[in-house]
Amino acid sequence: MHQWGRREDQRLTMGKGRFVADIEVPGCLDAVFVRSKTGHGTLRSVDCAPARAVPGVVGAWAAADLMDMPACAHSASVLQDLPPVPHSVLARLSSDEAVAGREWPALVKERVRYAGEAVAVVVGEDRYLAEDGAAEVTFEVEPLPAMVRPSDAARDSFPLFDGLSNVALTGEAGQPIDDSVWRDAAAVVEGRYRQSLLLPTPMECRAILVAPDADRLTVWAGHQAPHRLRRELAASLGWPEDRVRVVVPDTGGAFGSKSATFPEYVVVAYLAVKLRRPVRWIEDRLESMMVATRGRGQDQRVRLAADADGRLLAYELTIEADVGAYPHLGVGLPMQTAWMATGPYATPKVHATVRSVLTNTMVTYPYRGAGRPEAAIALERSMDTMARRLSMDPAELRRRNLIPPESFPYETPTGRRYDSGNYAGALELALRTVDYDGWRAEQARRGKDPGAMPLGIGLSCYVERSGGEPGGLFEFGGLEAGEDGSITARCGAASSGQGHETVFPALVARTLGVAQWRVRLIEGDTGEQPEGLGSFASRTAQVVGALLWHACQLLIDEARRRAARMWGVPVERVEWSDGTVRDAHDRSAVLDLSHLVKATGPLKVDDRFETGMAFPFGTHVAVAEVDPELGTVHLLRLVAVDDCGVVLDPEIVHGQAFGSCVQGIGQALYEGIPYGDDGVPLLGNGLLDYLLPTFSEVPPIEVRHTRTPSPGSPLGAKGAGESGCIGTPAAVVNAVIDALQVADPDLLQMPLTPDVVWRAARAPKRGEPR
């Protein structure tokens, strides 16, 4: 038998993975959505009749066809209308106030608010036939002025919802900073930064299959939070939760984008109930590029003040966030940026304000990093600007301001309580690893050589939050020991490529002292595990890992109690080691866990376990060479030093760190959704128009770790996996600015395409007249 690197690898490399689109359910229909090409407009008419005449089409409906219907005869449904899209309640991502009066219909009723919003659905015997039908649906949308940029939309020149402001949420973190602070500071720098809208782009698009059976539904979905999906679909249908089972099979990446209940999911579940037949929706890529959730999307203004020695005095961050057409999923997400605005520095005064603005774009939602890249990029770009202003080395400026290790737990002015850290340790390791002094010498050498390409070095120190927000830092699960020696772990998580089936059985085996092959994991199935939160916010290793460690302690305690009863000895005398119980006073009394189960009956422990919020951190350094004639950026080196506390599986964490660095490079240099003034994304050529990094764009990357355990969890693990998206972009941008020495760094807005860089290379340099 071959020894696999991860347990998942056997099926995934042999072509035996099971993704939603691979699941064969007899009689399953395919749903295809008819989508508006207009970004904002009034829906005048939809005619589905021609679609219904197409052979192989089972039905075609617009919202109007599904309104005020007589109650379905089927006992399972009392629905008279297509339910609306539910809103996120977790982590303050949305709120009742923000969505009040702003219904998100699962199919457009009266007004189209983003390009690609579905005006009709066609269901066919297969995908080809459903698409034939979709091509026959006609509809008319009368265009309205599109609100594409948040600054325009915020002026309420045209409201997306009649009678309501386009500003759907305002918020702040920290206290307003007195004018005198800015007036009296030795140095104040300002900046404006655009965080472009990004496409998370998991290689598998969204997918859902809903199969009704009597009065129950089984739902297969590539998803990060199966219990949330169950809860929200059941509520949409007006059903009790226990009649819906959500199963997450293999999931082809998520990066935050697969944790919600999307309009299409509501429609598919509704139709499966209505038709009493299995229905699936397998999103295709062009569809995904139009209507999958977007990440980032902020226009930021900053002010940073320091004294003459480079000690930071105050930092102010103003965020105008583009949250898309409906506030339902991520209107509160920009608050993550505000709460993390302090970054890793001991700045005494920090104030961040947020205005979440509705625009005619698809909804913004967590994408790997989810609010923390926006915080880190704004602050780290500003730090480099401050270093130039003070003529100070950017590493030295950071050194003077990093929160020292003895200050933890550290209460930030923006309301976070950092658990632990050695920020300077990560910075120094990064500088040594990259050979900072060596590159500075090379930079100086090139500065004297007119033929040499300019070279820059960019730093980015970051701190992020993992585990989730208060009220969401717990998880459910347990362990079951079998008579055959097997140990089954269950939890509410769901993997989308992070190797849970490998990491968690290894953790349980290590904690119990048994062989790994005895332990297996069941997750991503609400039928197997009744309660759960899921995998998002870098919480799984930290929270679920701690839960399973805790379950091991419960199992050991229960095994000792049973053995003590059986042997008639006090429990204190019973020891646990390597999967056995033994009497400390009687060397002959030794029993393996499986024999104990045989003798005393099934042994199952379940619990809920909570950890504190954790704050991973690190320093990334990029070295970039810029060709001023072509506007191209050539990354020569990237060093990522991350600290995610105690690492459960070094190879898996390394893979997460490396992969996320490449996504971070994507945000810095390549990725961004261009929108026309009419609110239509300019992505006509699909993935040829949205530049995901390929192997050609991957520089030599070195990932290193420092290790500062989290005191908020028994394992000491903090979240891993988002570090590259958070730490890398500013390092890359700072390196390019350092190479070009432009007087106005705001000219360099991400993505740093050749056009942007070429123009910046022609702008006045530092010290030149502007």
Binding site: H2, W4, G5, R6, E8, D9, Q10, L12, T13, M14, G15, K16, G17, R18, F19, A21, D22, E24, D126, R127, Y128, T201, P202, M203, E204, C205, D250, T251, G252, G253, F255, D284, R285, L286, S496, G497, Q498, G499, E651, I652, H654, G655, Q656, F658, G659, C661, V662, Q663, G686, L687, L688, L692, T694, F695, S696, V698, I701
Partner: protein, 160 residues
């Protein structure tokens, strides 16, 4: 239209609409779902298969164009005893997959190249070109490069 595909050595007499792309016929008609569709417009390469030994994006070719051809998919990489190929083993050993959705495409394009030229391991540039041909959003590609290199070097040692 009646066609015959030989997929992984097995003959499939099929009656398919001319408009059906090879990927859909492999997945739905032959029930070989190891071939994945990541973009359906020829960019990502997740749907890569070998048609008569040549790497092909199966979303861009019609099944009827492959009538009488021999098609190899990821399900056909294991040995007769079900043991994984050297490349499959290398992908696992190098952590060249995370979610695994793009993996079949990378495996097929690399298998085609390795079988066409067992000396591939001598030429890092050609291996890098192979890695450049497909998209992966999880790994950052470097582990995929290492995996193909590892399998190629193993093949080199076995070659006469």
């Amino acid at each position: 239209m009646k066609i015959t595909l030989t997929v992984n050595g097995e003959e499939f007499p099929l009656d398919v609409e001319p408009r059906r792309v090879l990927a859909d016929v492999l997945r739905e008609d032959c029930r070989l779902t190891g071939t994945h569709l990541g973009c359906e417009h020829g960019v990502c390469g997740a749907c890569g298969v070998l048609v008569d030994g040549e790497a092909v994006r199966s979303c861009l070719i019609l099944a009827v164009q492959c009538d009488g051809s021999s098609v190899r998919t990821v399900e056909g990489l294991a040995g007769p005893d079900g043991e994984p190929s050297a490349l499959q083993r290398a992908f696992s050993a190098e952590h060249a997959l995370q979610c695994g959705f793009c993996t079949p495409g990378f495996l097929m394009v690399a298998t085609g190249a390795l079988e066409a030229d067992p000396t591939l391991g001598d030429d890092p540039d050609r291996i890098e070109d192979l890695v450049r041909s497909n998209l992966c959003r999880c790994t950052g590609y470097e582990p995929i490069r290492r995996a193909i290199t590892r399998a190629a070097q193993e093949a080199r040692q076995l070659a006469p």
